[in-house]
């Protein structure tokens, strides 16, 4: 196995993903090969530095924005009386409009 093979295993070794034999072979190569040893040291150091990345806290006030977003989508686009239409319009026309608006009123989802 050449150096490229073992360098491709750096991550797997750090993650403890190698089986016992593979890990043994890996360690043996790293100890024997100066170049791979140096590279692995640098790789390991960089992974330790990654652990300095902080896990940030989401601002709690985001909840108000989310709640508003959810409520806005849940409200129907038409009120009940809007769905019934303008009393001055002919009844046939109002019936047509009510049928069109009913799915929007009930689900808040508009297909138009």
């Amino acid at each position: 196995m050449d150096c490229n093979y073992y360098r491709a295993l750096f991550s797997a070794f750090v993650d403890d993903e190698l089986d016992e034999q593979e890990a043994r072979n890996f360690k043996a190569h790293i100890l024997k090969c100066k170049d791979c040893g140096e590279r692995f040291k640098a790789f390991r150091r960089a992974q330790d530095l990654l652990l300095l990345l902080e896990r940030k806290e989401a601002p709690p006030q985001l909840w108000e924005r989310i709640e508003e977003g959810i409520t806005r989508k849940e409200e129907p686009a038409y009120t009940f009386f809007q769905m019934l239409g303008d009393p001055s319009e002919p009844l046939g026309r109002r019936r047509e409009l009510a049928l069109i608006r009913l799915p929007v009123y009930r689900t808040g989802i508009s297909f138009g």
Partner: protein, 186 residues
Amino acid sequence: MKDGVDLELIQRCKEDDHSAFEKLFYLCKDSVYNIALRFTGNRQDAEDLTQEAFIKIYFGLKNFRMESSFSTWVYRITANLCFDFLRRRAKRAAVEGPLEELREVPARGGDPLFLLTQKELASKVEEAFEALTPDERLVLTLRVIERLPYKDIADILDCSIGAAKMRVHRAREAFRKRISSYLKEE
């Protein structure tokens, strides 16, 4: 994700219980936010994406099958929104020209070789991380910050476990090169 996201809480959320969803928000917000923040590198965009993610989660819960992993589902929604965000931004840049906030890679040299304080080191690490590609930042966030197993990462990214491991490995290598450059080790 914090403990406490149990089936009962999810069921209540599926029944439009807003107070249950608020509890769910507080249990999951940091996981979602960190993915968004580390991906975009920008707090404002991260907050917008987090908001979008939770609204999507709320309405998507109705179709969520309880036998799937809830956390993986949430991470996947967040990751997909991040990639959508990137595509929108790329489209905008193509139309409007390069964004002013394009990241600059700091020039090598300049810093004397002295022992950095922990705070300075952490700052260099942040800089090096932000200089990675969005995909590299995403996979490292999932693996290193969120500490997810490779199986979950593969589910979230919709790829094989082998592919997930390769992406993490490449991202780690990319970070090593960046941080070495920043610390003048190369």
